[in-house]
């Protein structure tokens, strides 16, 4: 085969592989949604997933948001000083946290904490034949493992984003009031007056989308993991990478949809 034909064949194979992978992922996500909607339901697994994804993520989400909000306030103050706009710190911290940093930081933290955990656990279950065991016990793995986690993430990640937004704004407030000399009442008033309903709705919608992506990626890579410890490790790594990239891509698309129309 001449070099041009070999290159074309290689590009063709890579393109087919990419579309095949996208197709499999889309079918998996659609199947997860269909299993959420159809019985049997597993409320215990759902509640356990709610606890793991939601409640147990609160410390990392809270700390991340607090420091991000504080750093944002410092940056806006320093940047704003270049054109005498230091007073906009409360407004920009609020809009920055609610529209962008809150959902994105929470999404990435969930990808790191939850996607990796779901992928590693599911992949280990696959390697140790626990998923085959589920099937022989008349239990559909998509219903028992995937559906409760995806539904829980869909519900609880927007709530985490809401909490992250509030704590992030609080981080900005603490820095603004304690370090930059803002009046506390004025800071809160400016924050409250500047935010619009659309900002909060966009934040929560992003949270739901990112939660869905994080859980689906963890389950998909876990269910399709290779053999042995290396297979589990690769599934975990790939799930986090894919979830993080998809969360950032989805963030771009959703921002475009909400704020450029």
């Amino acid at each position: 085969m001449n070099p041009a034909a070999a290159l074309t064949a290689r590009i063709g194979r890579a393109t087919l592989g990419l579309f095949g992978a996208i197709g499999r992922l889309v079918i998996f996500a659609a199947s997860a949604v269909s299993h959420i909607l159809r019985p049997p339901f597993y409320p215990r697994e759902f509640l356990s997933a709610l606890l793991n994804i939601g409640y147990l993520s609160l410390p990392v989400v809270g700390m991340t948001a607090l420091f991000t909000g504080g750093a944002l306030a410092l940056q806006i103050y320093a940047g704003g000083a270049r054109f005498s706009a230091e007073a906009v710190v409360p407004q920009i911290v609020a809009i920055g946290m609610v529209r962008e940093l809150g959902p994105v930081m929470v999404g990435l933290m969930i990808a790191a904490r939850v996607t990796s955990s779901i992928a590693a656990e599911t992949a280990t279950m696959k390697v140790t034949e626990q998923i085959d065991a589920l099937v022989t016990l008349s239990t559909h793995p998509m219903k028992y493992l995937t559906a409760p986690r995806v539904l829980a993430a869909l519900i609880v990640v927007p709530a985490l984003v809401g909490v992250g937004d509030v704590i992030g704004i609080m981080g900005g407030y603490l820095v603004g009031v304690e370090q930059l000399g803002f009046n506390p009442a004025t800071y809160i008033k400016n924050t409250w007056n500047f935010l619009e309903t659309a900002d909060i709705v966009s934040s929560l919608v992003k949270g739901a989308a990112f939660g869905f992506i994080a859980a689906v990626m963890g389950c998909y890579y876990g269910m399709n993991s290779g053999r042995g410890a290396q297979g589990v490790g690769r599934a975990t790594k790939s799930s986090v990478e894919a979830a993080a990239v998809m969360i950032l891509a989805a963030n771009f698309l959703l921002t475009n949809m909400f704020f450029t129309a």
Partner: protein, 248 residues
Amino acid sequence: MIDLIDVHKHFGTKKVLQGVNLTIPRGESMVVIGGSGTGKSVLLKCILGLMSPDSGTITLDGEDVTKAERDAFLARFGMLFQGAALFDSLPVWQNVAFRLLRGSLKRPRPEAREIAIEKLRRVGLTPDVADLFPAELSGGMQKRVGLARAIAAEPEIIFFDEPTTGLDPIMAGVINDLIREIVVEMGATAMTITHDMSSVRAIADKVAMLHNGVIQWTGPVGQMDASGDAYVHQFITGSATGPIEAVR
């Protein structure tokens, strides 16, 4: 009765099953022997529908297993996996009673727990094991819990995948005896895959030897030593010379 007719299965270029024909009569204990990587587990997974054969037919009491209603079909089976495959996140009793806590066989939790403890007793484990997690058990205890789970819903057919792998000879003997007792007591149809000859002699009514993707020999366990088949002879004597290549 389970019937396999001309079953083929391949993975990439590797042809694992190349026309398997096998009948497992109701109430009998069939043990499939063969070297590592000869497709014994694949055969078992094809019967259970965990894998689809490329061609051929597998029937259970005359009904094609690929067309049977899945829940009703699987409700007839119990399976002991090679590594027990216990669910790490659940305590032992919930592993044993898994089928009784959900789905069509669902019972109230106290009743399911009672049944789990009774099944644990049946496999020689005390009730205090019920609240432990699988990671807290030894390999032999995990196998017993896996066995208790396999029989918890009193299935008609039980599959055993390498039931004694990784166990010391005494524990392997205990598991073999338990399997034999339980299969006889329940009147279940059993299919075991193993390459442990002590298991074969303890568990089997009939033996089938899988090699090169086909059943090389099948017959009653009592005739195995005098089968006259070179493959079976080499396998049961563990000889490095014979028709089976030692390096695969």
